[in-house]
């Protein structure tokens, strides 16, 4: 079987305040939608926010190696769908 897609929702302070608070629903909805093809979890600071002014691009979500900036539920689901194609 193929390797599982990994989705990491950053729940560090910066991402949380800049919007990942609203991405927490993914942790419930993604498994419900994709079953065991996708593994999703909330993770501590990915270390992307402290570089220069990059806080302004938070929240960050990592789908496998791809970094999604200013992540929204829609962007994350799209990235998952792309990979499942």
């Amino acid at each position: 079987m193929d390797k599982k897609i990994s989705v990491k929702v950053c729940l560090g302070t910066t991402c949380f305040v800049m919007g990942s608070a609203n991405l927490q629903e993914l942790i419930d909805t993604v498994p419900a939608k994709y079953g065991d093809k996708v593994e999703v979890s909330g993770v501590p600071c990915l270390g992307l926010c402290s570089i220069d002014w990059e806080f302004s691009k938070a929240p960050y979500v990592k789908v496998d190696d791809e970094v999604i900036k200013e992540a929204t539920v829609e962007k994350v689901l799209k990235a998952i769908d792309e990979r499942l194609k």
Binding site: L11, G12, T13, T14, F16, V17, M18, G19, A21, N22, Q24, E25, P44, C45, C49, S50, W53, F55, S56, E70, T72, V73
Partner: protein
């Protein structure tokens, strides 16, 4: 229903706050505040929302002005940002009205009206024409046409069209306001009537352009900390559901911002519960039919401004913030007190309460942590000096106040709590009815919360409602109940 839906506009507002705080800590606050719009929209940047970067910069400048705690409407474009920054550094008190509208953003938002869509079939029955009491509809070229001069916006035609071809275009802020305090003026700019406004913050959340801003007091607080004053934070219970850390970590994180100490407002809530329970008992013994709570600032303004006949039924007990601030000022007469609030309404309450100097909301606190690069989840734990009860910490959840008060009322007194979970036109009608009839058929202890979900649904919260509720509930469950331990376990 979704409480605290994700908002792109919050991202912008928070980014500006972060940049403003960073600017404050540089050598040239005024100049660096001036540069914020240019840094956010540099040359050659593709304007994501508006026609061009110039317009976006102008709008970002206005948002920065709100971040400085000034009125956007009253601030002239030509005044240099450095001058504004100086004005803010010199002021002693925050401005009276807590809200300001970025009116240039309102341009793209269509005024409320009735609109005939392409679905109109120009049918034979023409119920729209027949229903309109004002003769505003006629059929031209086989389609219904509304005469704007005659239309009174009643929406009857929209209800009767069998094709649902007619819709009512709503203005989000107008339709969210429970008391009709905000409306577009003749130029299409939203304007708040502060005589009517109860500071509920619903327009702040509703506007899709993020046009309604709270005037921030962040610079005032930073200034006091920088001056080496003893600044003390008073944290409302809702805060403990907002950030990815434990309550004790949060305390440590707040101290890292420069606060001398942190008090839980739950401490004051424990006093509110006691006094309100006593008051309820006395009132019932006197033969009164019902009493309402009095801890929600939005509700209190509603009663004062719009339903004075409800005053005799509202408890005279003070709010948790009042008691907490009293304790803090007694223990530290030299302290500058800052309340950490989930909503706009508390800014009004603070203005009327001598012991509360400033108010910051959770967006501002979050932005401050980011600006200082404090990761709350990595902070050590710091203990609170006073333990508050589970019931007090649960004040932030709708129904929590009534539940707490009920706990302390002797068994022989019959208590029937009624929860008004959010103010809207309907719940305001209900409240008026109770006042008029002098009785509420649903119960005798009415808890009123202006925000749906309670304080966790406040306009300036950071966390989504559900996870916030889960996080706060964990804290409540590990706190000691006012009831005997065995009883508490039973009622769970």
């Amino acid at each position: 229903m979704v409480i605290n839906a994700p908002r792109q506009t919050s991202h912008l507002k928070r980014e500006i706050l972060i940049r403003l705080i960073k600017a404050f800590y540089t050598d040239d606050f005024g100049e660096n505040a001036r540069l914020i719009p240019y840094q956010m929209r540099p040359k050659d940047f593709e304007a994501p929302y508006r026609c061009c970067v110039y317009k976006e910069r102008a709008i970002l400048r206005d948002r920065t002005i709100a971040g400085l705690g000034l009125s956007i409407e009253e601030t002239d474009d030509s005044i240099h940002m450095a001058e504004l920054a100086k004005k803010v550094l010199d002021r002693e008190q925050p401005e009276e009205h807590p809200l300001t509208v970025l009116q240039t953003a309102c341009k793209g938002c269509v005024p409320s009206r009735i609109y005939v869509t392409d679905l109109c079939q120009g049918c034979v029955a023409r119920p729209c024409v027949n229903t309109c009491k004002f003769g505003a509809i006629s059929v031209k070229n086989g389609k219904s046409v509304i005469d704007p001069d005659k239309c009174k916006n009643c929406g009857m035609c929209a209800q009767v069209c069998p094709y649902q071809a007619i819709t009512k275009i709503i203005v989000p802020c107008e339709s969210a306001c429970p008391v009709g305090a905000i409306a577009k003026d003749e130029n299409g700019h939203a304007k708040i009537d502060f005589e009517k406004c109860i500071s509920c913050g619903k327009c702040v959340s509703a506007c899709p352009f993020g046009a309604v801003h709270e005037k921030s007091q962040i610079i005032d607080v930073l200034k006091n900390i920088k001056a080496g004053k003893k600044v003390i934070a008073m944290v409302a219970p809702a805060m403990f559901g907002q950030l990815p850390c434990s309550p004790k970590q949060l305390k440590a994180a707040i101290q890292q911002l420069g606060f001398a100490d942190v008090y839980e407002v739950a401490q004051g809530a424990d006093i509110t519960t006691q006094n309100e329970a006593k008051e309820f008992e006395e009132r019932l013994v006197k033969g009164e039919e019902f009493m309402t709570t009095s801890c929600c600032a939005g509700y209190n303004e509603l009663v004062d401004k719009h339903i004075p006949e409800l005053k005799p039924f509202r408890s005279d007990t003070k709010t948790p913030l009042y008691y907490t601030a009293e304790i803090v000022k007694k223990e530290h007469p030299d302290a500058v007190t800052v309340f950490f609030s989930p909503c706009v309404a508390k800014r009004r309450e603070a203005l009327k309460t001598d012991t509360v100097d400033y108010v910051l909301n959770y967006e501002e606190i979050g932005a401050w942590f980011i600006a200082m690069n404090i990761k709350v989840e990595d902070c050590a734990e710091s203990e609170f000096k006073t333990e508050s009860s589970a019931e007090a910490r649960n004040y932030a959840v709708t129904g929590g106040v009534a539940k707490a008060v009920k706990t302390l009322i002797p068994e022989e007194i019959p208590v029937y709590p009624v929860v008004v979970d959010g103010l809207n036109k309907q719940s305001i009608r209900d409240l008026k009815k109770y006042a008029k009839n002098g009785v509420c058929e649903l119960g005798n202890l009415i808890e009123v919360m202006a925000c749906t979900g309670g304080c966790l649904g406040g306009n300036a919260t950071v966390n989504a409602f559900k996870p916030a509720l889960k996080q706060l509930t964990n804290y409540v469950n590990e706190s000691k109940s006012l009831k005997e331990p065995d009883e508490a376990a039973e009622s769970k």
